[in-house]
């Protein structure tokens, strides 16, 4: 086993993940272009990985610890929760993923698992039944995390404010960082809200790191 051999192998092992990441990024761009979207940046997989390593670890059991989801802002993954919405805002959130708006170019992925998410996007006011669920999902997300209330109902209850079952806006249950008004909220304003949320996310992260250092 010569030195050249070992160097060769080491190069192989180091370069393979890089190449893999680039290929994955390329793949995402190509599939986005095929759908008529712009797609994420080429380096998106690396942004995702970097974020993954700088987030807090969430586990359900010690033995199953896994790294979860920073430059944080480059890879904001979203968890979309429909509280007591009329589904108008939900349609608009989904519209953000379509070719016209294409939020994936900002690195956004709509995940189905709170443990992977950075941004909790909630539509609709909170009623008594879903209040606990909202709390739980918020708790299941790993720090740092940001909550965006989409639509007027999520902001303060909207027209349902006085309904017997509605508690009010999302901020009656969990702290909200960004309010996106509208009925229904326009995709442009939702994207604007996400961009604002990204800034909040980065601020929170810096704060968290600073706290860690002082400890």
């Amino acid at each position: 086993m010569s030195a050249a051999n070992i160097a060769h192998t080491a190069c192989y092992i180091l370069l393979a993940p890089l190449l893999g990441g680039l290929m994955s990024g390329m793949d995402r761009i190509i599939s986005a272009r095929m759908q008529g979207r712009q797609g994420p940046p080429l380096l998106q997989p690396f942004y995702d990985i970097i974020k993954l390593f700088s987030k807090e670890t969430v586990s359900v059991k010690n033995i199953q610890v896994c790294f979860l989801v920073s430059k944080l802002g480059r890879s904001p993954w979203i968890m979309h929760y429909d509280a007591a919405s009329c589904n108008g805002c939900d349609i608009e959130v989904l519209a953000c993923l379509t070719p016209v708006y294409d939020v994936e170019r900002l690195g956004v992925i709509n995940t189905g698992n709170p443990k992977h998410a950075d941004i909790l996007l909630i539509t609709g006011g909170v009623n008594n039944k879903c209040a606990e669920v909202v709390k739980q999902i918020y708790d299941q997300m790993s720090n740092p995390k940001v909550v965006v209330a989409v639509g007027i109902c999520a902001c303060n209850g909207g027209v349902f404010k006085d309904a017997y079952n509605i508690k009010g806006g999302v901020d009656t249950v969990i702290p909200v960082d960004v309010y996106v008004p509208g009925c229904a909220a326009r995709p442009e304003s939702i994207i604007d809200g996400v961009v604002k949320a990204v800034k909040v996310l980065e601020e929170k992260n810096e704060k968290r790191l600073a706290e860690k250092e002082t400890e």
Partner: protein, 649 residues
């Protein structure tokens, strides 16, 4: 030092006698421990001595008049035993098969041989030792005896749980030792009649072991094993007689050397008969049912029969015959049956929920791969085949022992009941993970051999067979990955509120399992050395040439991978220690009620979660697949046999 070989053959029979008179468990333990240590030590000392002295093939025992007579007596005894038991259980077909072959062979040995021109009796050497033999000796000595050690603890628990069965442990242990002795004899024999004798012992003893519990099911399955193996024995016997009369060959090494000199075309008919015998022994389709039925036996006998011994006898013979099967109809038959079995049984394994049955299917499937490798008969495929034999023996034995221990501890061997084993019983879960990883994950040996096999299938001379085999191995590997990964996930998955299992695993079971796990890991790291120092010289001996199958660069990559397998979990552990994780509830489709098991859905109803594997019974079910594939395999065997025998007889 050569005497050690005779010791290895004879000593297990001696311990078998001792076992049969060991009246209580303490005595049994002592006999087992002492014999195991003696056998292992003899095998290891011999192999070290042999390698240290240049690893030249040894031929032994040329003059064996008396031993031959003893063996004849043994054959008659086996025939009588089979006859008596068959009459007792009213399964008369077994008598026919047994009597036909025994009488034919006795006639051949006593009368037929003398009529053959130029025959000079007692010239050939009856034992022959080369690298392949030594590998087999080591496998049998180490894996086989460890299984008997494991059995000491296991059988106590077994009879504790199954009070309905009669305690016949003395018989059980003595049969296991007879089996080991017969296996040593089989792999060392070069004389075909000797090999046949040991072959018959393994058939009959496996029949006795499978019928251990004496329930109706066990008896039926044991007779199934018996008739299939006896049918193979008939093929073996016919092969010996044809070789004797047509080619004046009585000796396996003689056969191999002549075929290298004269080309293998002259020997197709006897070789295909011997290969047929090997296919039955290795439980290839259409003879797979006996191995599945053999799962009714207590686990140590399953482990012994299906990892290190019985089924390995078949593939051992095939690997020996590999040079005789290159590019002819015998090779085509063996390769096709092997590849086809690999694919079909790995698909069947998907639907299985019983861990032991899954192991049975995966055993057949891996043997199919080895068979296919032997059938192509090139140096690369034989290289892959030998490695598959080594890795399969260790990891399968480990898996069987684990499943047996889990069954005794938790009362179930269903895969669905093995959830979160990593929390409930880490001491068994880690070896189980090593065993499963050894079966399909990179960089463990099975995968390397599969890769080598795939490469050489692509280079096969017969393009049609080559392409078929490539398809078989591609789809077979995919399904293999699926059923192993499914099981692995079940062990690792966390079911809330699992608690550590308090039942104790007896020390001897634990010892055997631990030693196996370490052997598995060690094999993964030293396998380039095994390749360079043992298998390549063997290939040079047999084929006259051999090339490096796997390049050094690939090996370095694999070592890195192996290191990574250990580094990543450790690194994760360290990082976690540094910043303790924030505990959260499991995410469910609704409000988690706090115990991670129940949730309220959007209608406010209480729901309980249950995670289960997907078994795809409707697509790959045994009822759907088994009979058609057995029919196809039968057709291949019948056509190839008819074609080659019709041409020569």
């Amino acid at each position: 030092m050569e005497n050690l070989l005779l010791f290895l053959i004879l000593f297990p029979f001696g311990s078998a006698v001792l076992q049969s008179v060991s009246v209580n468990n303490t005595l049994r333990k002592i006999v087992t421990y002492v014999s195991s240590v003696a056998i292992m030590a003899a095998a290891i000392v011999f192999s070290v001595w042999w390698f240290a002295n240049g690893a030249q093939p040894i031929a032994l025992l040329s003059n064996t008049g008396i031993i031959d007579k003893v063996m004849m007596a043994g054959e008659i005894f086996l025939m009588v035993l089979v006859t008596v038991l068959s009459i007792k259980h009213k399964k008369y077909y077994a008598i026919v098969l047994s009597v036909v072959q025994s009488v034919a062979l006795l006639w051949f040995e006593l009368i037929g041989e003398k009529s053959i021109a130029h025959f000079e009796p007692a010239e050939a050497n009856h034992l022959y030792i080369d690298q392949l033999t030594v590998i087999m000796i080591l496998i049998i000595a180490v894996v086989g005896t460890l299984i008997t050690v494991y059995a000491c603890g296991y059988m106590v628990d077994y009879h504790h749980h199954h009070t309905e069965f009669k305690d016949r442990r003395r018989f059980f242990f003595s049969m296991m030792y007879v089996f080991l002795g017969a296996m040593f004899g089989l792999v060392m024999s070069s004389s075909l009649t000797w090999m046949y004798f040991f072959w018959e012992i393994t058939s009959v003893v496996s029949f006795l072991l499978i019928g251990y519990t004496r329930t109706d099911e066990a008896v039926n399955n044991s007779f199934k094993a018996l008739w299939m193996n006896l049918l193979g024995g008939c093929g073996f016997c016919a092969g010996i007689i044809i070789l004797g009369f047509n080619n004046q060959i009585f000796d396996l090494q003689d056969l191999i050397q002549k075929s290298v000199l004269m080309g293998n075309a002259a020997f197709v008919a006897p070789v295909i008969l011997l290969a047929f015998a090997a296919l039955t022994k290795s439980a290839q389709l259409p003879f797979s049912k006996w191995l599945l039925g053999a799962m009714v036996a207590p686990t140590p006998s399953s482990a012994l029969l299906h990892s290190a011994t019985m089924v390995k006898a078949g593939v051992y013979l095939l690997l020996r015959l590999a040079p005789l099967m290159e590019n002819n109809i015998a090779g085509t038959m063996v390769a096709l049956i092997g590849g086809f079995t690999f694919l079909v049984t790995s698909m069947l394994a998907i639907t299985v929920t019983d861990a032991k049955k899954l192991l049975a299917y995966s055993t057949i499937s891996n043997l199919g791969l080895i068979t296919a490798c032997a059938g192509l008969g090139t140096t690369t495929t034989v290289w892959a085949g030998v490695f598959l034999v080594i890795f399969h023996a260790v990891s399968k034995s480990l898996l069987f022992q684990n499943v047996g221990a889990i069954e005794n501890l938790t009362g179930s061997r269903e895969i669905e009941d093995m959830h979160s084993l990593i929390i409930r019983f880490p001491r068994l879960a880690y070896p189980l993970i090593i065993g499963i990883a050894g079966m399909f994950l990179a960089p463990f040996g099975m995968l390397v051999s599969k890769w080598a096999a795939l490469r050489s299938f692509l280079e096969a001379d017969d393009k049609l067979v080559g392409i078929l085999l490539v398809l078989f191995i591609c789809f077979g590997s995919a399904t293999t990955l699926y059923y192993w990964a499914k099981w692995l996930a079940k062990i690792l998955s966390y079911k809330p509120q699992s608690t550590i299992c308090t039942n104790k695993l007896s020390a001897n079971q634990h010892l055997s399992i631990l030693v196996h796990s370490f052997m598995m890991l060690a094999l993964c790291t030293v396998f380039p050395l095994i390749s360079r120092d043992i298998i390549l010289p063997y290939l040079v001996n047999v084929f006259g040439y051999a090339s490096e199958v796997i390049s050094e660069n690939n090996i370095v990559v694999m070592i890195f991978m192996l290191v990574a397998v250990f580094v990543i979990p450790v690194a994760t552990g360290i990082v976690i220690k540094k910043s303790p994780p924030h505990h959260a509830h499991v995410y469910m489709n609704g409000y988690n009620e706090g115990d991670d098991l129940n949730f309220k859905n959007s209608f406010g109803e209480d729901k309980r979660i249950y995670l289960t594997n997907w078994y795809m019974e409707d697509w790959f079910g045994e009822k759907k697949l088994y009979i058609p594939s057995a029919a196809i395999a039968t057709a291949i065997v019948v056509i190839c046999l008819a074609y080659s025998l019709g041409g020569t007889l």
